[in-house]
Amino acid sequence: MDINFAFGGLVAARLLLSFVPLPDQLKYDHLLSSPLTSNLRLHEGIYLFKNGVDPYSGGVFYQSPLYLSIFSTLLPLNRVSSPIIWTLIDAVSAYALVQTWRARSGVGKSNRDALLAAVYLFNPYLFLPSLAFSTSSISNMLHLLSIMFAARRKTSPALFCLAALVHVSLSSTLLVLPVIILLLGQPKSSLANPKPISIDFEKGRMIGLEFLAHFAVLTLTSTFISGGFQWLWQTWFVELSLPDLTPNPGLWWYFFTEMFDHFRPFFLVAFSVHLLIYIAPVCIKFQYDPLYAAFILTGVLGTVKAYPTLSDPGLFFTMISLFPEILPYLRYPIVTSLIHLHASLLLPLFNHLWLSQGTGNANFFYASTLVFGVANGAALMDCVWAGLRIALGETKEGYEVVQQ
């Protein structure tokens, strides 16, 4: 089947899906959009921005000033434009995923392209947030675009997308190092034959400086748009200080709801720094395959970042399709899938029982987020295992691979 035709068909189907009249409830769903990605708050921010009230003067709007300027001028949001814009965002993401696959596998068009596009466009963890017009779709697009450009050695576009990604979602800082290494190295799969790489530090420094330049430009533009530095506190600092404790499928919200007040700052620092600890070991261990390092760090983000939605782990699961070589080496894929299935049924059910039905309490939903955390953690650990295990190849009868 022609890939263009298949891709067009998939996007058309996705567009059709977004025009299906869906209940408004979707926009309020805690699993699909967090306060940092909520479409409702985006509309409120745009409304305030247009009416001369600083959206960053209170705790209403936690998203980037870039969204304010884009969606209030270039792409006005309404009932017709929103489904089209969000479908296009998803289409671009799927395209980026396909292009990344082509760069990694070194082949041109293949039958796998349509599969990859479908895996992105029809992953329920990804298209449901997109139907809720959550801006997490936009960060996913930037995420995949920066990886795609890096894999195709387009330095400036890759760094720009990366800077924009970090700008709209601060915790994506985790991806900066693997993307830079990817720009210095190569996207082909080297998991099976690991060898240390030599890094051109001079070039790396130039790339790092260019990233900082892009980032500074975006920061200054945002400051210019919002007319002050207040937005810094209402966007980036929110991810660190967690003022809004709206439930989400992640691990932070209930922890900090139940936290003793005098320990709150300590644990906020501990949780934020904890994310950064993963960068160095993952990038050192997978230096020969930086794309895989970026994939593992995506998994870390989906599991333990502040304000996650379903689309964060969803991106991780979709990205598994870029690495078909690891699939035979996964230890317990069925167990992970089953825990995931379990969690994805429990999450909406217990959210409904607690907040709408009133027959369950907060612990029910908290328990389901723990199960979801276990599922994400299990998938992450299994992918780390498989990525390392693959280097040892097939074992003979009577032998098995263990860690010393």
Binding site: E44, F255, M381
Partner: protein, 551 residues
């Protein structure tokens, strides 16, 4: 000659003595539904004195000598250099449609405190506002200390100064807070007595009988301090109550006397009050009889003097002699045709519809009962845990969307765990029609330490306030504030017994993931021979490969 000398000496020796005088007043209004509205007012005026200039706060205050002015209140006012102060503590819902406008406009359910405070001191306005709250909380035995920054706003379009503001070269700021869950009770009335020169022993204050006042359908007390240029500082202590004579009458008649309403008579007058009178509103076109005969008529009020030589009676009685029993036309289903009966220009209904525990919609219906358009300011001061979404605001009138009816909006967004929302706008209500406003709201999730002890009860939301700008046909009394009833919002609660469990379980999961990932990343992968179920390490190590390729 000696007298003149003595008088001159006295005037010389005491140049700072201000003249003070005290007036008391009781207004009784028979209301349309048979109830009796009463308003006690005790006014002490400190003549030719101005409020303390905040610039002088750093130095010692001038010594204050009061004979009638309440010292404890005066000390608080000078300590924090408060220019104007209004405190009210009420219980119940003021029914504007049947009772009309109250004699004292501050009828918000629960506590309400607002003050105009000038800048210019070394301590900030907010610090002095906090000090004022805490001092008044101590003085009136009310939890006014809870009116912290989470409830304080500055709605200067709705709350104008009632007196004058002195010009010290620094701007005056308004601080306002509602505390809807605060209720008035006897422990607040006792400190109230203490501020009166005659306490509750004589004069009109004798009638302040807590057993009857707190049994009333609506009751509330308020304290107003204001400065009027050329007059001085005025402290007005008021108590309002809506009593129901029919409830206690065996034949359902609305006849009343002071004894039947308050359980007491005025046995003696307050000797130091310069004016003391009971004024009873004279009902139009209804035959009635006063005993004793009023000492005078002032407009639509019959006046009974309770002071000095004219003191001739101990009780006042009013009878509707043609009425065998009272027919309440407000509850009679044949005549009650809704708002057409309303004696108020505007009728406001405000509800919070909840879809679930995290979102809902705020609905306000404003009805104009007059024949011409009414412009009114609309004020919402909602604590941060209920978040308004202004872009979802819909205004409908007569079945069509009318965004043009709302104008001149000022909005201060809330800050989580801190500042409340402040929303002020001007609404035009067309003649004889109802304007419906709907806005989506989301409800926040609080930290477990932020919930009150009875968290499942919910939170009281403060009333909205409407101030008609251009009144209908009636006079200036229509320019008063209209408070809507308070709302109850049901917030989602976490489990309060779980902090340790949650910390332990979440931490365990994160540590487990962290530990496992680092275990995988740091330890070397080897291939070992499996013999049966036992692994032999030393002989079986055929090949060893480092996945990381570093060592």
């Amino acid at each position: 000659m000696l007298c003149v000398l003595l008088a001159a000496w006295a005037a010389y020796a005491n140049p700072g003595v201000e003249s003070e005088h005290f007036e008391e007043d009781l207004v009784i209004r028979p209301l349309k539904d048979g109830r009796i509205g009463t308003r006690f007012s005790f006014t002490t005026t400190l003549e030719d004195v101005s409020p303390r200039n905040p610039e002088s706060l750093d130095g010692d205050d001038d010594s204050q000598h009061y004979t009638l002015f309440p010292l404890t209140l005066g000390q608080i006012l000078r300590e924090y250099a408060i220019t104007e102060l209004h405190l009210s503590l009420n219980a119940g819902k003021w029914n504007y449609d049947t009772w009309g406008m109250p004699d004292e406009p501050g009828v918000a359910t629960g506590g309400e405190l607002w003050a105009w405070i000038a800048d210019g001191a070394s301590t900030s306005v907010d610090q002095r506002w906090q000090g004022l709250r805490n001092a008044l909380a101590g003085l009136f035995c009310a939890s006014l200390g809870a009116m912290d920054e989470q409830r304080t706003t500055s709605p200067s379009r709705t709350f104008r100064p009632e007196g004058s503001l002195p010009d010290w070269g620094h701007p005056h700021h308004l601080r306002h807070a509602f505390l809807p869950s605060e209720h008035v009770c006897t422990e607040n009335l006792t400190p109230f007595y203490k501020l009166l020169p005659c306490k509750s022993f004589s004069g009109i204050a004798t009638l302040l009988n807590p057993h009857r006042l707190f049994d009333a359908d609506w009751h509330g007390m308020s304290i107003h301090v204001l400065w009027k240029e050329g007059v001085g500082i005025q402290v007005r202590l008021t108590f309002q109550a809506v009593l129901d004579p029919i409830r206690n009458s065996w034949n359902k008649k609305r006849d009343w006397s002071l004894k039947s309403l308050f359980g007491r008579r005025i046995e003696q007058s307050c000797p130091i009050s310069s004016a003391s009178q009971i004024r009873v509103s004279i009902p139009e076109d209804q035959p009635h009889l006063f005993t004793p005969q009023p000492s005078g008529v002032d407009g639509s009020y019959a006046v009974f003097n309770v002071s000095g030589g004219e003191w001739l009676f101990t009780d006042v009685e009013m009878r509707w002699h043609n009425e065998t029993s009272f027919q309440n036309r407000f509850t009679d289903p044949r005549t009650a045709t809704g708002k057409q009966n309303s004696v108020s220009a505007l009728s406001v209904q405000r509800t919070l519809k909840s879809v679930n525990k995290y979102r809902g919609s705020l609905n306000v219906a404003v009805t104009n009962n007059r024949g011409d358009d009414i412009q009114t300011t609309y004020l919402e001061t909602i604590p941060w845990f209920v978040q308004l979404f202004l872009h979802t605001l819909r205004i409908e009138c007569n079945g069509t969307r009318r965004g043009d009816l709302l104008d001149d909006t000022t909005y201060t967004p809330p800050i989580p765990h801190s500042r409340p929302t402040l929303y002020q706008s001007t609404l035009t209500v067309p003649a004889g029609s109802t304007v419906y406003m709907t806005m989506d709201v989301t409800k926040a999730f609080l930290r477990y330490t932020e919930h009150p002890p009875d968290a499942q009860r919910g939170w009281d939301l403060p009333p909205a306030v409407f101030v008609p700008i251009k009144a209908g046909q009636k006079g200036s009394d229509e320019l008063e504030r209209i408070y809507t009833p308070i709302l109850l919002v049901d917030l989602a609660t976490p489990d309060f017994s779980m902090p340790y469990n949650v910390i332990i379980m979440s931490s365990t999961l994160i540590t487990f993931i962290f530990g496992s990932v680092f275990n995988l990343l740091t330890r070397k992968f080897i291939v070992t021979k499996v013999e049966g179920n036992h692994k032999t390490d030393e002989t079986g190590q055929l090949e060893s490969a480092s996945a990381g390729g570093k060592d």
